[in-house]
């Protein structure tokens, strides 16, 4: 098994892309909470997709459940 151990600090996910977010978050986005800056800024487009998903769910529930006469 080539999976990294639990909590390993040198595994690829923890070394390839993510350190930049932590190191540059304050400098580039003035947001100490890295999760927020990552969610809404670095990967903001994912969050737009996420909002669209929940928008779809709301509309779908109205479409399915509302009774029509």
């Amino acid at each position: 098994m080539d999976m990294p151990d639990w909590g390993a600090t040198d595994s690829p996910p923890n070394t390839h892309v993510s350190p930049r977010y932590i190191e540059k978050s304050i400098e580039e986005t003035a947001t100490p909470n890295v999760v927020t800056s990552l969610l809404a800024d670095y990967r903001g487009y994912d969050t737009l997709g996420e909002t669209t998903v929940i928008f779809t769910a709301g509309i779908v529930c109205i479409l399915l459940l509302r009774r029509y006469r």
């Binding site: 080539d2 999976m3 996910p13 390839h16 990967r43 487009y45 994912d46 109205i62 479409l63 029509y68």
Partner: protein
Amino acid sequence: MAEHSLILIIVIPLMASCFNILLGLFRRGFCYPLVIATLSLCVILSIFIMDGVINNGVIHYRLGGWAPPWGIEYVVDHLNAFVMTIISFISLFVAVYSKRSVEAELPGRTVYFYTVFLLLVTGLLGITVTGDVFNLYVFLEITSLAGYALIAIGRDKALLASFNYLIMGTIGACFYLLGVGYLYIATGSLNMADLGRLLPDLYHSKVVLVAFAFFAVGVAIKMALFPLHVWLPDAYTYAPSTVSALAASTMTKVGVYVMIRIMFTVFKPNFSAEMLPVTEILGWVASGAMIFGCILAIAQTDVKRMLSYILIAEVGYIVIGVSVTNRMGFTGALLHILFDAFMMACLFMVAGVVMHKTGKTSIHGFRQLHRRMPITMAAFTIAALSVIGVPPTAGFFSKWYLVLGAIYARKWIFAGMLLLSSLLAVVAFFRVIENIYFAPSCHAHDRVGQEGIVRDEAPLSMLVPLLTMAAGILILGFFSGKIVSAVIQFTVPEGF
């Protein structure tokens, strides 16, 4: 500006679906023109993007201004632009077609129907344009959620079919997400190009193998490849006819597109073809799909259900073209994506028209319909001949490439399977065509002549897209050489 059209093609349908609801609160009548306008804009934008790709090569777009491995990037090459153009064209014509059938089948729900319809198109376009594996998952879920709902509002046991589709589709999406997770463990990246650069050093790793297995199963569920197709026939049979036409012609094609992306961009062709027997397995599965789909299509009495099984066989054709891993086969697969989208849209539209006019979709409901609606039935016959692969129609050209690809790869069995499956499709379709043209009418014995049958053609808003599709099938075949030299030859991955 050319690169901004990449994002506009997603955002315009999304915002239009929002404004659609706001409009629908006040005037219901405005929704249909808004949908048509939006989708026409999408078609124009997609042609614009296609033009840009042909002239200037691959377009990159950085969302939020972040460089690729950190932010989300849009990469549009010839393959993306090709699939995107098909989707926007088909969805425009299906939207034009939808007017009367939605009014008849779903009274009172048109506003929300069109909103979800636009969201479905947004999701499909979003899948084709993105260059990030997780972003693809998000758009896959938008597509699926909209699809579940649109199928669920159909007739008979559509609810149960939709629930089964939801369970299967969620398993598929979760497997895809697990694949993303395993790739993320192995590389730490989510960008497709970056993954493609990092992965060749890791091909010996078992994590990457597991990731590939999860991707393959997840995507195979989404595109209804043979052993995992069980959700498809029920779902497409009972869905509203508009939804069947759109979903059958685009959703499975997008699944194939995702498979090609994963196999040849994220993983390199030599991994998929040489290090693992992936393409061998895919080839056998696909030939199983062709034979099985056609045989079950013969056994059906409901035309929409028969077409669903034919669709499973068509997915088999496309996958077999990919699996022979040579230039000819791949070209044939992409051409078949284009032609099959047209053929399936046309066939399901005809089924919808018959449903709209006579209320039946069983094969016996088609009896003597060439007297009632000759133009519609002519379109059906053209599309059916194209599925079979009779020369002047488009289906012949793509099948020619597919068979040549199988022969060049020295896989005689696959070439034989292709021909056998075409023969079975002949049987399946001639049962319907015989009913249309030659079978005596159900009412023949209680009427003296055939004069009782009046011409009762489909309404114009249904007829125009139908005829466009049929004309497309007739004309596109002759331009297949041009399409190959302009677009498809650039999509063939290196090493073929």
